[in-house]
């Protein structure tokens, strides 16, 4: 019979003047997958970090198997059998995949670490998850998605009793997610308790047994998934009903007029094969493909972050040289990168400074934005995008993951770009805000912006994109338009069927 494995009672955590957790209870049973839900900034990550001792709790008790525990850091939590994947991929880019997986528990022989055994076991683990990665490769060279998978494999491997996953699926595609779910179910059946944080309600209903919902650091309630509805959960999270249906297909806009941007035979060796791409004002082009298919590379190329070695680019019909991001920004481009932590946020700077950074950089150092102006811009976007922060002067690294993502989006909106590239813009964003962002993209299109949006969520892409570019193996296969813009058609194209039909 499932028993209460881990219980949090009256957990409280405050950060300098703000209460992030206010007497929260959570009960985990052995052999269940327990969803932890809430809006961006609700306190999910804080709860997890307080549970594993990364943050010192200000009040409350933690009971494991009925006995009170006091893990002082992640290490002690691990020793107690609690394995965790924290929200941002928190692995070590400079170590190899194998070292990351076995850090702190390397197999030893005669007191020395046994590299060969470690790599062998790593290869076994990776194979089990279908990853074709060299165990000796440095982790930093791999894509975020692969890193995320490695983090999960590690946590699964160290957790004896409890496995905690904080938004593990954010950068995974459907196939990987399925694989992860399979693994989670196996572990559940083995009697582990799993905490699963996600903003995808589909996923909650696919694998979870029960859910606990937080709002503003308070416990809203606990539900058994089988006995509850989506709307119910959403209402608990938001504290109100979600206004409109989330997945409403926008009327296909016929993109008209001259292209805003055009790329001819644009490409880069060892990165993306030369491709053609034209985007008209008011058009959002979606980009779909599997992991490593070259979506991010395409975005970087188009933004000048990597220099193209063939082809040419045009803005409003005039050729431009995209030698570096600055040139692209001058041409009116904007780019929200995928790796928020390393390429997006400037952690120690305040929310305000992060928001005005690109605008300021474009104006040049000698024409500073006045403080009043900066505050006005920051306030406007904090309000418009509903960025949850106590204060726009707070260092951005202290914001919750989803709110950081919104601030980066604000950074580019503040520059009023003519062409905006978004790489996974809704990653880590809650249901409410997700709908907001989808609406925002639509509104920007209506205002005449040209957009290139990369997303692993096909449902989402098909909502706002009138045209979807499909990539495979670093090649642009072609565009899907009109009725073909549907998750099913995209999947079929990616899988290789019907390519001929759509490729022109």
């Amino acid at each position: 019979m499932p028993h209460d494995l881990l219980a949090l009672r009256e957990l409280t955590k405050t950060f300098a003047g703000m209460t992030a957790l206010d007497g929260v209870d959570l009960t985990l049973r052995a052999g269940e997958i327990h969803a932890l839900l809430g809006e961006n900034g609700a306190g999910k990550s804080t709860l997890i970090k307080t549970l594993t001792g990364v943050y010192r709790r200000d009040g409350g008790r933690i009971l494991l198997d009925g006995a009170e525990i006091h893990p002082a850091d992640s290490r002690q939590a691990q020793a107690l059998g609690i394995g965790t994947v924290y929200q941002e991929v928190n692995l070590l880019p400079n170590l190899s995949v194998a070292e990351n997986l076995f850090l702190g528990r390397q197999p030893t022989r005669f007191g020395l670490t046994d590299g060969r055994a470690m790599r062998r076991r790593t290869a076994e683990l990776l194979r089990a998850y279908g990853l074709a990665v060299d165990p000796a490769a440095a982790l930093g060279q791999l894509s975020v998605a692969v890193q995320q998978l490695v983090a999960i494999i590690r946590a699964v491997d160290v957790s004896g009793k409890v496995l905690i996953l904080d938004e593990p699926t954010a950068s995974l595609d459907a196939a990987e997610v399925e694989m992860l779910f399979a693994a989670m179910r196996t572990l559940r059946d083995r009697g582990l308790a799993i905490v699963f944080v996600t903003h995808f309600l589909d996923q909650v209903f696919a694998v979870c047994d029960r859910a606990t919902v937080l709002r503003n650091g308070r416990l809203v309630g606990e539900r058994v998934i089988a006995e509850t509805s989506r709307m119910d959960i959403v209402t608990m999270m938001l504290g109100r009903e979600l206004g409109e249906a989330v997945h409403e297909r926008a009327p296909a806009r016929a993109a008209a007029g001259e292209p805003r941007v055009a790329f001819r035979r644009f490409g880069r060796r060892r990165s993306v094969e030369p491709f053609d791409l034209e985007i008209r004002p008011g058009e959002a082009v979606g980009v779909a493909g599997l992991l490593g298919s070259g979506r991010t590379e395409t975005a970087r190329l188009v933004f000048g972050a990597d220099r193209a070695d063939t082809g040419e680019a045009f803005v409003d019909g005039k050729p431009v040289r995209l030698a570096n991001p600055r040139a692209a920004i001058r041409a009116g481009f904007g780019y929200c990168p995928e790796e928020r932590k390393v390429e997006g946020i400037v952690g120690d700077l305040s929310v305000r400074e992060n928001i005005v950074l690109a605008l300021q950089a474009r104006r040049g150092w000698a024409r500073p934005l006045r403080m009043r102006e900066q505050v006005r811009i920051a306030d406007r976007f904090v309000e418009a995008l509903d960025i949850r922060t106590t204060d726009i002067e707070k260092p951005i690294r202290l914001l919750s993951g989803g709110n950081q993502q919104k601030a980066i989006l604000a950074r580019w909106l503040a520059t009023e770009p003519r062409f905006l590239i978004l790489d996974e813009p809704t990653r880590g964003i809650d249901v409410g805000a997700h709908a907001e962002i989808v609406r925002l993209i639509e509104r920007l299109c209506e205002d005449g912006m040209a957009m290139l949006v990369i997303s692993s969520e096909l449902d989402e892409i098909t909502t706002y994109a009138g045209r979807v570019r499909v990539l495979r193996d670093r090649r642009h296969l072609g565009d899907l338009t009109g009725e073909d813009v549907s998750p099913g058609a995209i999947m079929r194209t990616i899988a290789g069927a019907g390519v001929e039909g759509t490729h022109r």
């Binding site: 209460t19 972050a305 946020i345 952690g347 120690d348 700077l349 000698a366």
Partner: protein
């Protein structure tokens, strides 16, 4: 806002107070001030005056460290600028040109460092080590290894004149500090420097010209070092290429770090770096005045630095916060945390 800034400066100010207090105990007339030769006179003024070169170096060093770099070559740059100034003066070149040349040499040194770091992507410590070693050689080459003494009233004035009752070196250092603070805070340079230092990749993707920012920081550092070199030469009325600025780079880095700027780059404060420089100089002057045997100098310095470390450490801050909270609980008032939770 004002208040919070003052509070963040508290550890440094406390440390300075501590050192000055210790000095006053060891040397009772430490705070004596008098007016002599048109200027203020006394140990406190000595601290400012002698601290001027390190203050100057600390200004530029703060910017460099904020970009996640470090400039080991400032001592050598001081020697070069002093050597150039002295040699040109002796050769009869008009003084305005001499000063321009000395400052220009400093900018050039900074440009060299900046190119090595920003364009060739060489690690800052090793990039500037090259000039640290070679620069002193260049300075000695200029002076042929001996002390070039000069005789020029303008340079003398820079070294030992006074303005508004303060010694010229102090006036120059403060003016430079104000200038650079205005430069970085009234323009967007400060923001761009901090962004580059914290996350160069993200800053570059946001359109910050990281290379130009880096070069600007190293050039400012070179310029500050050149001014310091000029002052050091004017002070002894001669250019001592062998010893001018020797090991001062360490003092400058120490000043910046005491001033709370992290060697990992990012947020910086020039005024606090100046306080750091004054702490170091107050220590030195105190040691000289105290009459301890010179064998004790380094031990005294080590102990004082350790004290400052303890005083400034975040752990200490938490401890005092904890004590304060404990006292609050004892007296029955609500702990601030509890009050906060009710409000939200």
């Amino acid at each position: 806002m004002r208040l919070s800034r003052l509070r963040s400066a508290l550890p440094q100010l406390l440390a300075l107070a501590l050192v000055l207090g210790v000095n006053a105990i060891l040397f009772p007339s430490f705070f004596d001030l008098s007016f002599r030769n048109d200027r203020l006179y006394g140990p406190l003024i000595d601290v400012l005056n002698r601290g001027a070169p390190v203050m100057l170096l600390a200004i530029g060093m703060t910017l460099v460290i904020a970009t996640k770099g470090v400039d080991l070559s400032v001592g050598a740059t001081m020697a070069i600028s002093g050597a150039v100034a002295a040699t040109l003066t002796v050769a009869g070149v008009p003084i305005p040109l001499v000063i321009l040349a000395a400052l220009g040499v400093g900018l050039l040194c900074g440009l060299w460092n900046g190119i090595l770091v920003a364009v060739l992507d060489i690690q800052p410590i090793i990039a500037t080590l090259i000039l640290m070693v070679a620069g002193r050689g260049i300075a000695q080459l200029v002076t042929s290894g001996f002390i070039v003494t000069f005789n020029d009233p303008v340079l003398f004035f820079i070294g030992s004149g006074s303005l508004l009752g303060l010694p010229m070196p102090v006036v120059i250092a403060l003016a430079m500090a104000v200038l650079v603070v205005l430069l970085v805070r009234r323009t967007a340079l400060g923001l761009l420097i901090e962004a580059t230092g914290i996350n160069r990749r993200a800053a570059a993707l946001a359109g910050v010209d990281a290379k130009a920012v880096l070069i600007a920081a190293y050039m400012t550092s070179g310029l500050c070092a050149a001014v310091a070199g000029l002052i050091a030469a004017a002070d002894i009325r001669g250019a001592d290429a062998n010893n001018a600025g020797l090991w001062l780079e360490l003092d400058a880095i120490l000043a910046v770090v005491i001033g709370g700027t992290s060697l990992m780059g990012g947020r910086f404060s020039i005024p606090l770096a100046l306080v750091g420089a004054l702490i170091i100089q107050a220590m030195n002057t105190g040691i000289l005045l105290s009459g301890f045997p010179p064998e004790m100098n380094l031990i005294l310095k080590a102990v004082l630095i350790a004290l400052i470390l303890v005083l400034q450490s975040p752990a200490m801050g938490r401890l005092t916060a904890l004590l304060a909270a404990g006292r609050a609980r004892e007296t029955g008032t609500a702990a601030p945390a509890a009050a906060g939770s009710r409000k939200v």
